[in-house]
């Protein structure tokens, strides 16, 4: 979520990857997305001449015009160069300003701002070739250019220079700052925003200062005011539409609200969670929205209250914990905000919640060593969560805490049960819960040559037990690297460099040792189900070995540089990621046979960091051999660039496409699937309730949405038919419609009867009266007399004809 803009008070548009997402501001729900770009979308702006349309630009070299309410692509303008940002102004109709690479140097770092005259043609796809350069050497950052009051000038910043270009005079002024490097001050411009009503340009700087420039139509007599609150760089600046306030944000994750002309007075909205990267204000100024570095959008109401948070998968500094699946919520668990674990629903692509592990105030400051969650594990039922946090200061001792969290059914969350400070003397390399249902046991391995088993000790006097160390094991003072439980929890394999030791957790007896030099063991994994007699291990020296635990001998081994080994908990399948020459390959196989079920070469560039099999809700019935291994669970993995990727089958994709149907949008409230679902439900509930309390309400409730009533109320009086005519119609509209099957039948019959009954034309008003009573009778006796039924049909025919005539006129 990089760039966002408000379209009205109800919609928020946000560039996300290759599409533009439309969110409702009141319910924070995702409405729909605008798909069509083939590369990263770099900017979204409202069409200044039509507030129901937006322009979006993308690195694929096109500018697209959308109707964002309905999600319809209106036009595509092909520019031909990758576009980095887009700017529009009301004064420059039919022109968009885009930042593209300098024509001659396509690959270089030089960018220019060009004006694109959008051709007026009816075609869907138009080539816009009429480019005229406005400013050379601008920054591609979207915040570095801003239109001034009424589009009279444009201000662009790059490095230490501010350039203001006046369109009328076709003249530009440049203002440079001293680099001031000798004092350790970073003066460089970071962003710019122009006052909408006055000639004042606000610029943000890398040293946290904001300068308000005035008199910039002179080379020397220009002047500026300096405001300083931010301690880090000012990432973004935004004036409110009336220009009464200036908003700024930076790494401090505080939205600062400067009062224009009263710069000493400022308001703060602190603790927004992560560094602010972009600020947008709704056209009426009532809503602000900040996008954050952790993939989050916050919607703020009148600068005081956070009204909604749209949170994607938190993109933190890195993922140290593996990808874990919470057995209860089936959510993906990984590092989120600093010091937190995030629970992320894979099915809904939405963050469920953040669990504060470190429970310390996070200080937004570069170069500080802070506690980070490095390991997390769930037990088999999801009752317990174990986390390890550590802080390594330069030249100081390592601080490690092991925390155990019990699931609290009441609060539906994890509650801290036990904190073990310094559980090991050195880094913890692995942590696993025993999968057996009888005992809750945790094993941690550490670089201090030991592995420890932790047990939940029961205490009769207290309600809850707490965890304590049960066993400390080691092997010849070698450093344990990894460990693994067998599927039933009866065996524990710990890899001590080249040696794999197999222990019995019940008696803590060393059962056997397996060794396959050369190379230290990197990963260990027991087979599942039918293959549970096998133990797989990977070593640093490009070996993938499979031992048979019954014979305690090597079953097979193959030379592979396996960087990651992951077992599917619901099948025998194993996934092995190999990194070769800068890209990763995936092999899926069963331990029983050294032949891959499925292999995918060059899956992604870089090394795959973490992977997990997420169990499916229901098993897929795929018969395709290639995708059979995905039937029970889905494989998710995270790459070096922190992209979360998954495998999906063809049928799923089809289903996804089918489900993304267009939604009707009411003009008063943004309709989201959530609203449709809940709203309908609530209406039904409301109806039911009222029906219970007041049986008469049934009748008054019904006609509300009726077309007849609408017509009656909305048609101008001079075109309305006579009152008696209307009365009948009104009364008829009170009729309860019958089940669709019957109606259809009736319709058919109607067609045939239409001709003969048309002659009767005029309706008897009294008929209406009787019809009005029909529904109440209908409840008592659903069967109507034939005569009544006919009357009813007649009413319907009449109704239709009148309506169609009205529509035609």
């Amino acid at each position: 979520m990089s760039n966002c803009c408000f379209t009205s008070c109800w919609f928020l548009l946000c560039a996300a990857g290759e599409s533009v997402n439309v969110y409702s501001t009141s319910t924070e729900e995702f409405v729909h997305d605008l798909q069509g770009h083939t590369d990263l979308v770099t900017g979204v702006v409202l069409n200044p001449s039509n507030h129901l349309q937006v322009y979006s630009c993308s690195a694929d070299g096109t500018v697209r015009l959308w109707d964002f309410m309905d999600g319809i692509l209106i036009k595509t303008f092909i520019i031909g160069y990758p576009i980095y940002s887009i700017y529009v102004s009301e004064k420059h109709g039919g022109v968009v300003f885009v930042v593209v690479p300098m024509a001659n140097y396509k690959s270089s770092e030089l960018f220019q701002l060009v004006a694109v005259h959008l051709p007026r043609s009816g075609d869907q796809e138009v080539e816009a070739r009429e480019l005229s350069a406005v400013l050379c050497d601008v920054s591609p950052h979207p915040g570095a250019v801003s239109f001034g009051r009424e589009g009279e000038y444009i201000a662009a910043t790059k490095g230490l220079q501010l350039e203001v270009f006046f369109f009328k005079k076709q003249k530009s002024y440049r203002f440079s700052l001293k680099s001031g490097m000798k004092k350790g001050v970073k003066n460089a411009f970071t962003c710019v925003s122009c006052h909408p009503k006055e000639d004042c340009i606000a610029t943000g700087h890398a040293d946290g200062k904001i300068r308000l420039w005035r008199n910039f139509n002179q080379k020397k007599e220009y002047t500026y005011t300096t405001l300083h609150w931010h301690h880090g760089a000012v990432n973004t600046l935004c004036f409110t539409p009336e220009g009464t306030n200036l908003l700024s944000g930076g790494i401090e994750s505080v939205l600062v609200h400067w009062h224009y002309t009263q710069e000493n007075q400022k308001d703060f909205l602190p603790r927004l969670g992560a560094a602010i990267t972009h600020i947008a204000v709704s056209p009426d100024g009532s809503l602000f929205c900040t996008s954050h570095s952790d993939n989050k959008i916050t919607i703020i109401q009148s600068c005081v209250k956070v009204s909604a948070i749209i949170q994607g998968l938190v993109k933190g500094d890195g993922v140290w914990t593996d990808l874990i699946i919470d057995p209860r919520s089936k959510a993906l668990v990984l590092n989120g905000k600093p010091g937190h674990l995030q629970f992320y629903s894979l099915h809904r692509d939405k963050q469920l919640y953040n669990l504060d592990i470190v429970q310390q105030e996070y200080i937004n400051e570069e170069g500080l060593d802070q506690f980070e969650v490095v390991k997390a594990a769930f037990d088999a039922r999801g009752d317990w969560l174990a986390t390890v946090e550590e802080r390594r200061k330069k030249g100081a001792e390592l601080e490690i805490n092991l925390k155990l969290w019990a699931y609290d059914k009441l609060t539906q969350s994890f509650v801290l049960n036990t904190t073990v400070t310094a559980p090991h003397e050195d880094r913890i390399t692995g942590m696993f819960f025993s999968p057996s249902p009888e005992t809750t046991m945790l094993v941690t391995t550490s670089l201090d040559d030991h592995f420890k088993a932790w047990l939940l000790a029961d205490h009769s006097d207290t309600k809850e037990g707490f965890w304590s160390c049960d066993f400390v094991g080691g092997y010849h003072l070698l450093k344990p690297g990894c460990c693994s439980y067998s599927a039933d929890g009866s065996l524990l394999a710990v890899g001590f460099q080249e040696v794999v030791t197999v222990w019995s957790p019940a008696s803590w007896e060393l059962l056997t040792t397996l060794s396959q030099p050369p190379g230290a063991i990197r990963d260990l994994c027991f087979g599942r189900l039918s293959c549970s007699k096998y133990l797989l291990g990977t070593s640093t020296k490009n070996q993938l070995c499979c031992w048979n635990l019954l014979t305690c001998s090597l079953e097979w081994s193959t030379p592979m540089d396996v960087s990651l080994l992951q077992a599917d908990p619901l099948s025998e399948n194993m996934a092995a990621f190999c990194s070769q020459s800068g890209s990763s390959d995936l092999f899926v196989f069963k331990p029983s046979e050294p032949r891959p079920l499925y292999s995918q070469k060059a899956l992604c560039t870089g090394k795959v960091q973490h992977a997990v099999f997420a169990p499916r809700d229901q098993m897929l019935e795929s018969c395709e051999e290639r995708t059979q291994w995905l039937n029970r669970s889905q494989l998710y993995f995270i790459t070096q660039d922190m992209d979360l990727l998954t495998f999906s089958t063809k049928t799923e994709e089809d289903r996804l496409l089918a489900s993304s149907k267009q939604l009707m949008v009411d003009d008063s409230v943004a309709v989201t699937p959530f609203y449709l679902l809940l709203g309908k439900h609530r209406r039904q509930q409301l109806e039911k309730q009222e029906a219970l309390t007041n049986p008469m309400a049934e009748r008054t409730q019904l006609p509300q949405g009726s077309i007849a009533i609408k017509e009656l109320l909305h048609t101008p009086a001079h075109v309305l038919p006579s009152a008696s005519f209307l009365c009948a119609m009104f009364v008829r509209s009170l009729l309860v419609s019958r089940s669709s099957a019957r109606e259809e039948k009736a319709e058919e019959e109607m067609e045939s009867e239409k001709e003969e009954e048309d002659s009767e034309g005029e309706a008897d008003p009294r008929l209406g009266e009787s019809a009005a009573w029909a529904p109440s009778e209908e409840f008592g006796a659903p069967a109507l007399t034939k005569a009544q039924e006919r009357e009813l049909r007649k009413v319907k025919t009449f109704d239709h004809s009148w309506l169609s005539s009205l529509l035609d006129s």
Binding site: R149, C200, E221, T225, H231, N264
Partner: protein, 684 residues
């Protein structure tokens, strides 16, 4: 130059006093500056901000406000007196009791015909400025509460007066108050405290700008008495305001040490209606900014932290030059240290006392840069407190260490010193009648004569013997200049005396014939230091604009070296230095070497070496050190600059070839200042 033994002296506890008031005379481009101790300094802004004149203070005098009327300088203070200064004799001309209690402020109208003062008793008194005097004219309507600040409307018809909690606008012809502008009090705890309107400015469009103790700068409409705009600029006080000449900019000095500029700017370009917008903030002070002046090209500010800051407005300069750099003036541009070269004694001059120190000594040897162990420590031999109320304006120590003299505005005192074993000091009792006060004192090198600079650039010659001192002669310049002498030096052979006055004239007198020998050609900039060479009797002069001349007294012309230097021009790095050279001495062992220093460096000029041209690296000591012996001579040039010692007050070569370096670190001065107002600093 080789190695020198250096006495690094840090025991001169020189402490300048805080700046209280300032007045800029745009006509003569002189800035008058008043300090807390009652002294007044005159800076010449056309001549590189050179401190031309110092009028010493007096215990009973306090100055709250300064005011120029034409070329005349007036001051008023809390002692209730208005004083006019005699800028030729560097003393108050007369002072006049105003009978209104302490006076907070004095201003003049633009025509220079009237003075107005604001008194503690709530009266604004008008004085008529006469040719030689001022005369009380009348009072404006008396108000309740004191008058803190005044500002005269440029037309002369109205006066705005800042008071407690309010501003009054007076109609001058009638003397009645026509407007009453109420100033809000501060918020919170300061609500109960009265707001002091420290400063007001009356602009020609009848806008009144005020700065008050609640930290506000307010813009008022003087016609209607309505508040136009409030700028809350600080939590503390706004102490000073100054308006630029074209009234497009106002600067305000605050207790936080910041100077905030407000500009009269149109909010939308190309439109006429303008408003006052806060623009730049300058932070060059740590303490209260008490005095402020916005001049044509710069903002001049001074305050509790004792230094004067000239902050140039860069938009007024076309290109970078020496004038566009920030200047801080910390030390006086004259010597406060006298050094007895033969005896190894130092005399430090304070406003209230003199201190005589004997330098330490060491017989150790070490590498360059080493600290040598001391055989005996430096010793304070004497502390001589002045008599009377007047502060010491100059002092001198003879090179043998046998004589000591100082002068105040009212008297000169000469003492006989014995410092060999038991220290004794005896005042020379009978002084000639003509010796009443001196601007500058100087002993001849054999200590047989003393020279005292007197009024109208004349020099009195006093013969000193063991028993008495006798008036010998008065040396008078031919030019008839009335300006005071600020520099005097004698030759070692006792034949020549050179005296420089504020008119930039340097007179060389023949002491044997007791008559004027010659006048050095007048150069446009004031000499800041000069010295006569011990063997060649060449006069070396350094001017405030950093130009360097050497004049042969015997031949009455500039020396060849000086001509060569002027022809080639001084290096830009040398010319861009921002403090004047304050002392020139010579190396007795090597006649080619001249030692001079300013605040940030000392320099040894070797006249035997080639002069640097613009392309050569000027500060080349580090490069030279890295070069081999063979390569070195090709890189040498005449200016050898050492920046090892900072914040220098005096550098002198003793007769035993050791260098005395008197440092006064600015940090030590800062640490002695009172604590500044508390400010919330980030991360504290």
């Amino acid at each position: 130059m080789g190695e020198l033994k250096v006495h690094r002296v840090r025991f001169f506890d020189y402490m300048p006093t805080a700046i209280r008031a300032m007045a800029f005379n745009a006509h003569t481009e002189r800035l008058a500056l008043a300090r807390m101790d009652g002294s007044v300094e005159i800076f010449n802004f056309t001549d590189h901000y050179f401190q031309e004149k110092v009028i010493p203070g007096k215990d009973s005098r306090s100055i709250e406000s300064l005011c120029w009327v034409g070329g005349r300088l007036f001051s008023a203070g809390l002692n209730g007196e208005i004083a006019e200064y005699d800028l030729e004799n560097l003393r108050p001309k007369y002072s006049l009791e105003a009978y209104g209690g302490p006076i907070w402020t004095v201003i003049s109208n633009t025509q220079g015909t009237q003075l107005a003062i604001g008194c503690e008793d709530g009266t604004v008194k008008l004085f008529e400025v006469l040719e030689e005097h001022i005369q009380f004219e009348r009072n404006l309507d008396r108000q309740k509460g004191r008058i803190i600040s005044l500002s005269w409307h440029p037309s002369g018809t109205h006066i705005a007066a800042g008071m407690m909690d309010m501003i009054r606008v007076f109609d001058v012809p009638t003397g009645h108050a026509v407007q009453r502008l109420l100033v809000d009090r501060g918020i919170g705890g300061s609500k109960s405290r009265e707001t002091v309107v420290w400063s007001v400015a009356f602009l020609s469009d009848h806008t009144v700008v005020s700065g008050d103790s609640a930290g506000k700068v307010q813009v008022w409409d003087g016609h209607t008495g309505t508040l136009v705009k409030t700028h809350l600029v600080t939590k503390w006080d706004v102490l000073a305001l100054s308006v630029s000449k074209d009234e497009s900019s106002v600067v305000a000095g605050t207790s936080e040490g910041t100077v905030i500029q407000f500009q009269f700017i149109a909010p939308t370009l190309h439109q006429q209606d303008k408003e006052w917008v806060r623009t730049r903030t300058f932070k060059n002070h740590t303490h209260d900014v008490r005095a402020l002046a916005e001049i044509e090209t710069a903002i001049v500010s001074g305050g509790m932290d004792t230094h004067l800051v000239v902050r140039p407005l860069l938009e007024k300069f076309d290109e970078k030059s020496h004038a566009s750099g920030l200047r801080k003036i910390h030390f006086p541009h004259r010597n406060l240290v006298s050094c007895a070269k033969k005896a190894g004694l130092l005399l430090f001059q304070f406003p209230g006392q003199l201190e005589l120190w004997r330098l330490g000594d060491s017989d150790g040897h070490g590498k360059p840069g080493d600290r040598l162990p001391l055989k005996w420590k430096p010793e304070k031999l004497l502390l001589l407190k002045r008599k009377g109320e007047d502060h010491i304006c100059c002092s001198a120590l003879s090179s043998c260490g046998g004589w000591l003299a100082y002068s105040t505005v009212s008297s000169v005192r000469i003492y006989r010193l014995q410092t060999d074993n038991n220290i004794s000091i005896t005042k020379v009792s009978k002084l000639p009648k003509v010796l009443r006060s001196a601007h500058q004192l100087c002993f001849s090198s054999d200590s047989s004569k003393m020279f005292a600079a007197s009024s109208q650039s004349s020099v009195l010659v006093i013969a000193l013997t063991q028993s008495e001192c006798k008036y010998v002669h008065t040396l008078k310049p031919k030019s008839g200049s009335r300006q005071p002498i600020h520099l005097m030096t004698t030759s070692v052979d006792g034949k020549w005396l050179a005296a420089a006055n504020s008119d930039c004239e340097i007179h060389v007198y023949n002491l044997q014939k007791l008559k004027l020998h010659c006048i050095v050609p007048v150069y446009g900039s004031c000499p800041s230091a000069m010295g006569i060479h011990p063997t060649t009797n060449n006069l070396t002069m350094v001017h405030a604009d950093q130009q360097l001349f050497e004049y042969s007294i015997v031949e009455k012309q500039y020396t060849d070296w000086s001509r060569k230097l002027q022809k080639q021009g001084l290096h830009n790095v040398w010319l861009d230095r921002d403090t004047p050279v304050t002392h020139v001495t010579f190396n007795p062992k090597n006649p080619n070497q001249v030692v001079l220093h300013d605040m940030h460096m000392f320099c040894i000029i070797d006249q035997s070496l080639p002069l640097p041209d613009q392309k050569t690296q000027f500060y080349n000591q580090m490069t030279l050190r890295s070069l081999s012996e063979q390569e070195r001579p090709s890189h040498l040039h005449a200016f050898k600059i050492c920046k090892t010692f900072q914040d220098l007050l005096c550098v002198s070569l003793l007769d035993d070839q050791s260098l005395v370096v008197v440092e006064r670190p600015l940090l030590a001065i800062t640490s002695q200042l009172p604590a500044p107002v508390r400010q919330k600093k980030f991360a504290t």
